[in-house]
């Protein structure tokens, strides 16, 4: 994977994984009641959490390769790459949190409530 592709993946993967897991879970919620099982919901959440973590890790590795420095406002590809790498880390973390927050009700609530 080229550096730019890795950087874009880091930035966009978190939000997109969240969006898909969220839509999938929302669409599955009525079925969880019909089949009296929340398993599918758990699976979606866990897979999404793992993927978000992976995307964070990918971005983190990029950031390390780029010198692990906080992005300044310098010109050229390096500072720009750093802001994307750190952006990937933070966005992945943010959406990890959002997916986690959405997993909480799955655990607390019954399938049909």
């Amino acid at each position: 994977m080229s550096r730019d592709a890795a950087l874009w993946t880091g930035v966009l993967a978190g939000p997109i994984i969240w969006l898909f897991s969220f839509e999938a879970n929302y669409a599955l919620a009525p079925w969880a009641c019909i089949f009296q099982a929340k398993l599918a919901l758990y699976i979606v959440s866990i897979v999404a959490l793992a993927l978000a973590a992976a995307s964070g890790l990918l971005a983190w590795r990029q950031w390390k390769q780029l010198g692990q420095e906080w992005p300044g406002d310098g010109g050229g590809a390096l500072p720009r790459s750093r802001i994307m790498a750190i952006g990937g880390v933070l966005l992945s973390a943010m959406f990890f949190l959002v997916i986690l927050a959405q997993a909480i009700p799955e655990v607390i609530l019954g399938a049909c409530q």
Binding site: L97, A101, I104, P105, I108, L109, G110, Q113
Partner: protein
């Protein structure tokens, strides 16, 4: 207010509300719970208010501090050239902002869990044993009420006024005849939409006797403002007495004036829309009037139920509730008095 000892939160709310409203009754209020469901919501509300209020004060204080004189002179000189404070300031700021962000996350997770747990508690109310089932159907702009029972003899039709026994869970099964309405009696529970082609449910219970007002909460057209419902919570025996008397068909009038009134009712177009059990009137498009005389209000509680108001309503419904679907019927002046008296006699 209720007879229970006041919770501190309730006290705060009372003061807050009194400031703006004087001593008006709390018959339609989300912060004066009269049942377990609304009580859970109210408790959650005060919890949210306390936490969010504290957050608000802290953030405002932080913002206001930027305005103090003492503060504004800090580090002017270096800024003019670099437009950036020294690195140690930036590091300190990073620490503060990070802590604030983490605190935000923690607070939001606490609120999220408390909200979900409350929601779970409210949903578990649906497992209650021995519930009473009441079907509420929204119409433009009145409420059709049917007490369901496996025994067809025990099914009761009425309108715009719901009686419930204190301490017994009630399941409201809602649907709509025309557009979307929303059933909402804030002292007992939050709102539930009544949607055509769907059935929605809501569980309520009153923990003390009282009369609570509810109102349609989803915009439903011209007379959305005049679509209210009374919920009367009564002790079990009193409720049963009411229920039994309502099950009876309307008594045949013996008084000649009332007999005349009944004939007037049956001869005019009233019968196309209204039902009076015990007579030939069996219309299905308007409220059931079998025990009309017992009700507190008319025209979905737009007006108190009195002889004068009723006369005005029948003669010219459009002046009372512009746009409503009750037909204006040219009632012969001689016929009006007997008609009114007959309707009022339907106890």
């Amino acid at each position: 207010m209720t007879a229970e000892p006041m919770k501190p939160a309730t006290l705060v709310s009372t003061i807050l509300l009194l400031v703006l409203n004087g001593c008006a009754g709390h018959q339609q209020s989300a912060v004066d719970a009269a049942g377990p469901q609304a009580g859970r919501i109210e408790t959650l509300f005060w919890f949210f208010l306390a936490i969010l209020g504290a957050v608000f004060i802290i953030v405002m204080a932080a913002a206001a501090w930027t305005l103090t004189k003492r503060h504004r002179g800090i580090e002017q000189e270096p800024l003019e050239r670099t437009h950036l404070p020294p690195p140690q300031t930036e590091t300190r700021l990073t620490r503060v902002v990070t802590i604030a962000t983490i605190a935000t996350v923690v607070i939001l997770f606490v609120l999220l869990v408390s909200s979900i747990v409350t929601g779970k508690g409210m949903a578990e109310f649906a497992n209650s044993k021995n519930p009473m089932v009441i079907e509420v159907t929204g119409w433009q702009w009145w409420w059709q009420v049917r007490y369901q029972n496996s025994d067809p003899q025990q099914v009761l039709d009425t309108a715009n006024e719901i009686h419930i026994p204190v301490g017994r869970p009630v399941m409201i099964r809602g649907t709509s005849q025309d557009v979307i309405h929303s059933f909402w009696v804030p002292n007992l529970h939050g709102k539930r939409d009544l949607i055509p082609s769907r059935i929605t449910t809501e569980w309520i219970e009153a923990d003390h006797p009282g009369v609570f007002r509810g109102q349609c909460a989803e915009f439903c057209g011209l007379q959305h403002a005049h679509m209210s419902v009374w919920v009367v919570a009564e002790p079990g025996d009193k409720f049963q007495a009411w229920f039994n008397s309502q099950l009876q068909p309307a008594p045949a009038p013996t008084d000649p004036v009332l007999q005349r009134g009944q004939q007037v009712f049956l001869n005019y177009a009233c019968v196309y829309c209204h039902t009076i059990r015990g007579t030939t009137a069996a219309g299905q498009n308007g409220p059931d009037l079998t025990h009309f005389g017992t009700r507190q209000g008319l025209a979905a509680n737009t007006l108190p139920n009195s002889m004068g108001n009723l006369g005005g309503w029948i003669v010219n419904p459009q002046s009372v509730k512009p746009g409503n679907h009750m037909a204006t019927i040219a009632v012969n002046p001689d016929d009006l008095q007997p008609l009114l008296q007959y309707l009022q006699s339907l106890k």
